[in-house]
Symmetry: C2
Subunit: 258 residues, 2 copies
């Protein structure tokens, strides 16, 4: 298929590279910042523009991969007639595109992309939604070019939003817990490296077991002595102390009999 | 070395198996529950007892791997004279053993063990501490039998307690975030499997990058619209809602300029 990317950020970069590698053609990249559009476009053999008025019209699909905050504005400015247009957002409604084309949908890769970090896209779940069955079939085909069929999920906007919320917990929030741990260790001159095997093991354990059953630690055991020692150690950081006691409380509520 | 284990839980199980595999001899396993002592002992070719008065005296090292809450009591009841005795706790002082022997220390494997889940002990960090340099050398040798030398860290009790606190954040608390996500998805009939690649990727990303730099998400971007939508979706669960807003606030405080 011939594809135009509107946006040149993390998702656009990873998606366009994966689609290019799987044999699709990227015609053009738009970004409001010309240098960003150029950098990505040159890399994948596409044209580039910073002018929405100069979007080519001969693409099979337009992929809008921009920040949630600017998506409604972009959607309002672009009209691709009968061409298929999708956005890549977990948290935005499909209907934000209803005036952009008569054929529209969502193509949401459920992964945390950073420009500089390679991700094996072949294992990434892709959540698709479309306003017509035919469009959904096109999106399924597109998704199956870059990920395994079992990773493709048809899902409406309401469910997708819940998946996005859950992703915030496991990705954004877990990462912040890693950052807190890093800071606690730095204060004592202990390298963060020491925690890396534990972090990997924690993520691996739930691949084949429900997380509730994998729970360990002082809150799960109801070990008040250790908990109060830990709270004392966090005295100088009220925000981390609050996070500690709130999550500990939530753990003990989740585990029956503690 | 000839080793006696006091305790038959997760740590005792994993440690004794790894030590046995590396050529050490486990003489005896104690547990206050005879069937538990037996189960582990039979598995590693050791004797077993549920009577602290019947501990053999011909071991080179006694490893007390019991819950923090009962460690002081066990330490008070056992005296092994000049034999080396260690505990395996991250959060207990080394000095809890000062009346158990004239030679004592700590041997803390920094990992979350579950009895039924195999862990590759060869990558597990082991934190050691001893009351004499000679004892520390023995513990270093013992640790190097089961993990790489770069994973062995000499560390005093105060620092080890901070490592343990940090481990609670990255292991216990991250796991609880996984459990929350699981529950949110279950409510909408979405399988938890969909988040597993993201969870692994989140843990992998910080193996070679500082977590603070890997932060993404609405709180990092300062996206108040998405945050308030998420809070609305959590309305029916005040505890998760509080966790969401507290961690989001903490992220925005940690990231300068948001």
């Amino acid at each position: 298929m011939k594809i135009i990317f509107i946006g040149s950020g993390n998702i656009a970069t990873h998606l366009s590279n994966a689609l290019k590698l799987s044999g699709h053609e990227i015609l053009q990249v738009y970004s409001r910042t010309k240098s960003n559009a150029k950098r990505l476009a040159v890399n994948i053999g596409a044209e580039f523009t910073d002018d929405l008025g100069k979007l080519r019209s001969d693409a099979d699909i337009f992929i809008i991969a921009v920040k949630d905050g600017v998506l409604p504005e972009i959607a309002a400015k672009v009209n691709v007639g009968k061409r298929l247009v999708v956005h890549t957002s977990g948290s935005m409604d499909m209907e934000v595109l209803k005036n952009t084309s008569v054929n529209y949908g969502v193509f949401y890769p459920l992964q945390s992309f950073s420009k500089k970090i390679k991700v094996d896209v072949s294992g990434v779940p892709i959540l698709i939604e479309a306003n017509k069955a035919g469009n959904e079939r096109i999106l399924f085909r597109l998704a199956s070019a870059i990920t395994g069929k079992k990773n493709i999920h048809r899902m409406n906007s309401a469910k997708r939003k819940t998946v996005h919320l859950a992703a915030v917990f496991v990705n954004n929030f877990s990462n912040h817990l890693y950052a807190i741990a890093d800071e606690l260790l730095k204060d004592k001159g202990v390298p963060f490296d020491i925690l890396k095997p534990l972090i990997i093991e924690t993520a691996k354990k739930i691949q084949h077991n429900p997380p509730l059953k994998m729970q360990t630690g002082p809150a799960k055991r109801g070990d008040r002595k250790i908990i109060s020692e830990h709270l004392k150690m966090l005295e100088s950081n009220p925000s981390y102390k609050k996070i500690y006691s709130l999550i500990s409380k939530s753990i003990s509520e989740a585990i029956p009999g503690t």
